[in-house]
């Protein structure tokens, strides 16, 4: 994780989307580290109550403490995906926003082609589960905005990092279910003005 945070700390962006500016500031390594340090005061090892989890925040055990599981090392995630999880969880430390709790995914919960969105493991649909957000500023929204900005504007990232950032950001976007939030993110990052 230290190596991953060192990597995040080196990021230099050539531009910044307005929502990113609002949440983090500029696309810039030190800005990201400052964001993280301001929220996460301690890191511990835990299983997070889920054999597939990589990291979590358990508010009843301290809202500013992030728990990392062994899967962080064991699972073979791309580096930007590991970083995304860390920043997703860091948003959950914010007590003054109710830890940015998730919303239940709608029923039915389909992709734009009309197919149910489901877990690759169990085949269980995400419909009705607390795995969605209704705002661009929650854990899913903020981390996808971070990654999409890295994908578009990182000036010193490899093409693989930028490609990965785009892939994971696009995947997380399906978790935003409020039409206004979707429109705001599309306007911020998916409109032609940034292409």
């Amino acid at each position: 994780m230290i190596a991953d945070m060192n990597f995040v700390g080196t990021i230099q962006g050539s531009a910044t989307s307005p929502l990113h500016q609002q949440i983090f500031g500029a696309v810039n390594g030190p800005t990201y580290l400052q964001f993280f340090d301001a929220r996460v005061k301690a890191i511990g090892l835990s299983g997070c109550g889920d054999p597939n989890a990589v990291a979590c925040v358990i508010p009843m055990m301290g809202s500013s403490k992030m728990w990392i599981t062994q899967n962080y090392i064991k699972f073979s995630h791309p580096q930007i995906a590991r970083s995304m999880v860390v920043f997703h969880e860091s948003r959950h430390t914010e007590v003054n926003h109710g830890n940015w709790g998730h919303a239940n995914c709608p029923t039915p919960f389909n992709d734009p082609q009309g197919n149910p969105i489901k877990s690759i493991w169990t085949g269980a649909v995400l419909a009705g589960k607390p795995a969605c957000d209704i705002t661009p500023f929650g854990s899913y929204g903020s981390s996808l905005i971070m990654l999409k900005n890295v994908s578009k504007f990182c000036a010193n990232c490899t093409d693989k990092v930028k490609t990965d950032a785009g892939i994971y950001a696009d995947d997380q976007f399906k978790r935003i279910i409020n039409p206004q939030a979707v429109a705001a993110i599309k306007k911020d990052l998916y409109s032609v003005r940034f292409q």
Partner: protein, 234 residues
């Protein structure tokens, strides 16, 4: 009278001799000065009190060294080093794998098949590198094989029974479990976006995406459908 004339003649001869001598001296100085003006631009260097240092020899300008060809074995070794570091931002990924020869591609494909299936980022990175240089039907055969691999159910053992999850803390997992396939499709997406002039390769690519759209792997199927939508094939 004769004696006077003799003295006078001697006197005249001496005068002429002196005149000739003086003239010759003056002419010598004139030649010397005109010669100096014509050939010397800088004043003469003062006598040096230091030991004379030999002037540096001009350094011949060497031609830029040609890039040393890196063998396929060395390329795979380099990739192994990068993957072991878990640093996806290693700039060599952008610089050392751009012009892959057929031997390089074969070596990387072997590396892919030798890796455990659970090495998802490692295998996906290899697909990414190979997918950047699609230039033949053979390249697409490899990409097709990747997209048709069975679903990886579990990070510790792809063949194990799928684990249940809480759907939130595992948000990135769906994509990572299908990462080699996602990279294969991403490669095809990029290839198709270049509007390839080779009709056969384009059709072969679209067929792979079309097949992937019916994959049992939800992530693969969804991504393939998006690519078909973008390319106006759906």
């Amino acid at each position: 009278m004769t004696r006077k004339f003799g003295f006078f003649a001697i006197f005249i001869c001496l005068l002429v001799a002196v005149y000739m001598l003086e003239r010759a001296k003056t002419a010598s100085v004139e030649v010397s000065m005109s010669s100096a003006t014509a050939t010397t631009v800088e004043p003469p260097a003062p006598a040096s009190v230091q030991p004379e240092v030999p002037a540096p020899m001009p350094v011949p300008i060497a031609p830029s060294p040609a890039p040393v060809p890196v063998s396929s074995v060395e390329k795979v070794k380099m990739l192994e080093d990068i993957l072991a570091s878990k640093n996806d931002n290693d700039p060599r990924l952008d610089s050392e794998f751009n012009n892959l020869t057929d031997n390089d591609k074969a070596a990387l494909q072997k590396k892919y098949s030798d890796e455990n299936r659970e090495k998802l980022n490692e295998r996906g990175t290899i697909v990414y590198l190979l997918g950047r240089t699609i230039s033949s039907s053979h390249d697409l055969v490899f990409i097709k094989q990747v997209t048709e691999e069975p679903i990886c159910n579990n990070f510790e053992n792809c063949n194990a029974i799928p684990r249940d999850d809480d759907s939130d803390h595992t948000g990135a997992n769906d994509v990572t479990l299908a990462y080699p396939q996602v990279m294969a499709l991403k490669s095809l997406e990029r290839f198709l976006q270049t509007n390839p002039q080779d009709y056969a390769l384009k059709q072969q690519s679209l067929e792979i995406v079309n097949t992937a759209a019916g994959s049992r792997n939800d992530v693969v199927a969804r991504m393939a459908r998006q690519i078909l939508d973008q390319s106006g094939q759906n």
